[in-house]
């Protein structure tokens, strides 16, 4: 329940404050968001399978975000930024789909 409250507060804060993305973070934020979404979907799946662990969630969330942002940064330094970010997004997208499919199977048995 507390994470849901946190989510609600975040949405309200976003709508009220209308934050702008710092220029330095602009290339990394989209990837970081996708990585975080992957962690959140994974957590939802774990929740449904009754093996949710808050510690694991926090660690996976942070590591996902950091690694994704770092990969994009590294790609930028190596001159393959756009390709690498595409790759990261693809991999994360596959994971999100897989987790979503698991959740779907559990809820609808289909």
């Amino acid at each position: 329940m507390i994470p849901v409250i946190g989510l609600a507060i975040g949405i309200v804060a976003g709508l009220v404050l209308k934050p702008t993305v710092p220029t330095d973070l602009q290339p990394y934020l989209p990837i970081a968001i996708v990585a975080a979404l992957d962690a959140v979907i994974g957590a939802l799946r774990a929740l449904g399978e009754r093996r949710f662990n808050d510690r694991v969630f926090v660690v996976s969330f942070i590591s996902n975000v950091v690694i994704a942002a770092f990969m994009v940064y590294l790609g930028d330094q190596l001159g393959v930024g756009s390709q690498l970010s595409t790759g990261v997004v693809v991999v994360l997208g596959i994971r999100i789909f897989a987790n979503a499919a698991a959740i779907r199977r559990r809820i609808f048995h289909a």
Binding site: M1, A13, G14, P19, P27, I33, S82
Partner: protein, 234 residues
């Protein structure tokens, strides 16, 4: 065990609070990113991407220029054809008007003459009247009507019917009044000159008089019959 993990969601623990903060941050970041997407700001775009963007813009620009050229050509062609169509339409309209006057399907007005033929002794027959009309036509009458009821066109016939004369099926009474549109002085000359209408009528035993008029209005229409056998050959 499952019971406990559900209950743990409602009991504040440090990792859970951290998770809540993380989720809040995620929501905040997403909204910020969505807002940033709305602004046309390229400051955060990578150099490579900018080059790609520029290239694609160039390509689009080129494609659109070609398209503009093509469309301009098409438009000019259409304008031309519209102009041509307008011209053709104007000409066709003019031609239709001319033909309508010739065929007697519309009224006509213009300068002309009025010839009054008095025939107290009923000596003038259809041939005599036709002769007078022919003389007027020969001298350039473009529209002719008799007594204001009978329009004289190509198909009009003149017929003796007892004491009366029928013109195109219409009975006309004495005195005959021929209205003709054309060059009024030429028409009047055709009536007056020796061997003209006046002479012809007086030989038959009637009298004719002519008045030149600035404006003659003919409202009588000829009965138009659609051709039964003849068809346009072109």
């Amino acid at each position: 065990m499952p019971e406990r993990s559900w209950r743990s969601l409602f009991r504040p623990s440090v990792p859970l609070v951290v998770a809540a903060i993380l989720l809040g941050g995620l929501a905040l970041a997403m909204i910020a990113q969505i807002n940033a997407k709305d602004t046309d700001d390229y400051s955060g775009v990578r150099g490579d991407d900018l080059v790609e963007l520029l290239k694609s813009l160039d390509a689009t620009n080129e494609r659109l220029s070609t398209q503009i050229d093509e469309l301009t050509t098409t438009r000019n062609g259409l304008l031309d054809s519209t102009k041509r169509t307008e011209k053709a339409e104007k000409q066709a309209k003019l031609r239709a008007e001319q033909l309508a006057i010739l065929a007697g399907t519309v009224g006509a007005k213009g300068p002309g003459v009025e010839v009054v033929i008095d025939d107290p002794d009923k000596n003038i027959d259809a041939a005599g009247l036709l002769d007078a009309v022919e003389k007027l036509r020969d001298s350039g009458a473009e529209a002719i009507a008799i007594n204001g009821v009978a329009r004289v066109v190509a198909q009009t016939y003149f017929l003796d019917d007892d004491d009366q004369i029928r013109v195109g099926g219409r009975e006309i009474k004495r005195p005959y009044r021929i209205e003709a549109i054309g060059d009024s002085s030429v028409l009047a000359g055709a009536v007056r000159f020796p061997g003209g209408v006046m002479d012809g009528i007086s030989i038959l035993g009637g009298t004719a008089s002519v008045t030149e008029q600035k404006k003659v209005t003919i409202t009588a229409l000829a009965d138009v019959k659609a051709p039964e056998f003849a068809r346009p050959s072109s």
